[in-house]
Structures are given as C-alpha cells and as structure tokens.
Symmetry: C2
Subunit: 222 residues, 2 copies
C-alpha cells in the first residue's frame, strides 16, 4: 500500500528539486573550486533560467550553506554511536571520517569552513560528540569544551589541506597524489592522538575528586 500522495499543488509542476540544485552546486565545486558555484552556472546545469533558483533558495549563501549541510550529513555516525567501544576509538574514528569526507570535496570544504554551520546535521554531530565525551567522564562543561576542541582541530586541519586551490583547475575528488595524502593523514592522526591524550589526562585528574586539582577546572560554558 503506497503512502498517501502529498497534497497536489496547483499551478505548473516543479521542474527542479532542492536536491538537484545542491547536486549541481557540489559537482561545480568539485570540478572548478570554491568560485565555480555561481547561481548562473548552477541554473545552467539544471537547465533553468538563473532567477528560477530563487524559487528554492532565497540567497546564494543559503545554497552554499545547504551544500555544507549535505556534506556533513554524509558523515557516518555508526562508529561514534556504538557505546560498546572505547571512547577514544569512537572519537578518533569520527574525527578522521569527518576529515576524509570534507577533503574529498576541497572546493566545498573551503566554503564550509567559512560558513556558520548552524544547521541540523552540524548540531547532531556536536551533540553526539558531547555525549561521547560525557561517557568519557569529562562532565558537562568538559564535554562541551572537548567537542569544540576536536571540531576546531578538524576544521583547521581541513582548511590548511584544501587551501591553495586554484579556481578553474580540475580538482575532482582524489586528485592529489596518494602518497602526500597518506602522509598528511598520518600527521592529522598524530595530532588527534595528542589531543585525546590531553583529554584523557584531564578526565583522569577530574575523577580523583572534586576540585582536588587545579588542572581540573572545567571550561566555561558560553
């Protein structure tokens, strides 16, 4: 039995979907870098007049923010959610996967790093990370601080990696030499391990007793 059909709108059928527009934008970013996703080029790719896009999104920045959301949405939460595994493994897996997802789309990643990231999939990611660090015994404020710390490191590292993109050149995913990519990934993981070491130590001093150590002052909650 099919689900009841959505209520029919009157007037002409929609020629496009939001998804089609975002697909076009992302492929343009993949092919031509952060400057390649103009409203007019997106419109051409989906075969409508430029101003038709404004039926679906109010502004260009809204399109780009939706592309960013879509990228974050593609990040797999499975390893993160599995509470049976040690928290370090879960946090490391999430950070690495987030980085991998973003680096696979350098043109979009440049824009994402400079975008507000206040959408639902960014919030979900953040909430899951906070849960995880709460499991690790960091407490409420500590978990929030740890979440920011890891996310900031990921985004900073991605920003450095995807920088120096020349608008117009072909930069499809997997364009970089794989040796350089592997080395930078190891660098990233090494730094991530130092961060997780630092968080482990802080959780440890915190567990020994309330306010027993000066080092265990929780970060402020803004």
């Amino acid at each position: 039995m099919p689900a009841p059909a959505a209520p029919r709108r009157r007037g002409p059928r929609r020629a496009l979907t939001e998804q089609a527009i975002l697909d076009a934008a992302l492929s343009l970013l993949d092919e031509g870098g952060p400057g390649a996703a103009s409203i007019r080029r997106i419109a051409a790719r989906v075969d409508v007049a430029p101003n038709a896009i404004y039926t679906y999104f109010p502004r260009k920045t809204a399109v780009l923010r939706a592309v960013a959301e879509r990228l974050l949405d593609g990040v797999d939460h499975d390893a993160l959610a599995d509470r049976g595994r040690p928290w370090r493994i879960r946090a490391g897996a999430l950070a690495l996967e987030l980085r991998t997802t973003l680096i696979a789309h350098p043109g979009a990643a440049v824009l994402l790093v400079a975008s507000p990231l206040d959408g639902p999939s960014a919030s979900t990611l953040d909430e899951r990370l906070v849960e995880l660090f709460t499991d690790a015994g960091l407490g409420r404020a500590g978990a929030a601080g740890a979440s920011y710390l890891v996310m900031d490191y990921v985004f900073g590292s991605v920003a450095r990696e995807v920088t120096g993109i020349h608008d117009g050149g072909p930069l499809s995913p997997g364009h970089e030499p794989s040796a350089a990519r592997a080395a930078s990934t190891e660098q990233f993981v090494w730094g991530l391990d130092r961060i997780l070491d630092g968080l482990s130590a802080w959780a440890g001093t915190k567990r020994e007793g309330p306010s027993a150590h000066e080092g265990a002052i929780p970060p402020p909650t803004p």
Copy 2:
C-alpha cells in the same frame, strides 16, 4: 644623516604604495566583511582608477594574500622567542596572541583561513614554533607535528569564531559583546591547555628512552 635616496625612477611618480593599497583593503574588510574588498572599492578608496591596482599586484588574490601576510606580521614574537621562560608559557602566549590578532579583523580572518599562507611571515611563525617544540624535547618530527597541531587548532577556532559574518554590516574590531568574547577566549585557552598537556606527555614518554613506548612514535614528515 639621511639614508641615501633610492635610485630615481623615470616617468611619472608613483601615486600609490603597496602599503596604501593593503591599508585600504584591510579597512574595507574591517568595515564590510570578507566580500567588501573588491578591486574597484580599494581603488576608489586610494583615489585611482580600478586598473591602476594591477600595477602593484597581478591579481586580486595576490592583494588578499598580502593582507593576510600583513596580519601575521603584526603578531608579536617576543614571548615566543624568550628561551628563558617555560616552553608551555611561550607556546600558549603565541597561540593566544595569534588568535587575538586574527579575531580583531574578522573579515580579513575569514579570507586568511582560506588562503595558502606560504608567505615569509607565516614561515617565520612556523619556524619559531618548531624551535620552541624542539626545546621542549619533542624531536625534529615531533616538533613539526606539534607546530601543525597548534596552528590548525588556532585557525579552526578562529574560523568558527569569525563565521556568520554578514557582508555589509558594520563589523569593526571589538564589535562583539565583551562578555561573549571573554567566554570564547577561555574556551580556547582550555582547549589549548589540553593540547599542551598531550604534547608534554608525549615528550615525557619520548624522554624515557628510544622507542621504549608505542605512544612515542614520531609523526611522519611529509
């Protein structure tokens, strides 16, 4: 006694200097956000025709990269260079000051995070950081990895902070409510302390002996 005059060029005197152009660009970014520094607006502010800018810089991106360089140049190296003080204090002071400098110019900082940063002042900053971490006993590869780690964290945190800038609105330095700014600074410092904890621990395990611990594997040098 005045320094010998620079050799006189023939032809009309220069109406501009590179510095004047960068000043104009930076003030536009401060006032109007990352999109406000167009070649045409910069030219108007220094009172020349738009194409006159191309006598001084070959492309718009070159102007913006020079602005980024100029920002980094303003970072005070004194606390970093003083080898008499503990390395943690020195590293923390540098990271905090770098962050403060960038956040004082949000519009420029957005562009800086998305720029290659291969100029001399960026390299100098990096070299000093590597020296510092070498002093800390991290070894050659460890010092390089630690330098990336700290810089990536600073840039990621700055990116999050200066994001959500609305092009066109006034965003002069010091625009944000000081309470929120203080809280986010404390958050940053807390995360930075966790990173430095992690680096300390790694230096410690490393000092106990060569390859004695699995945790002391140095990061790869790319």
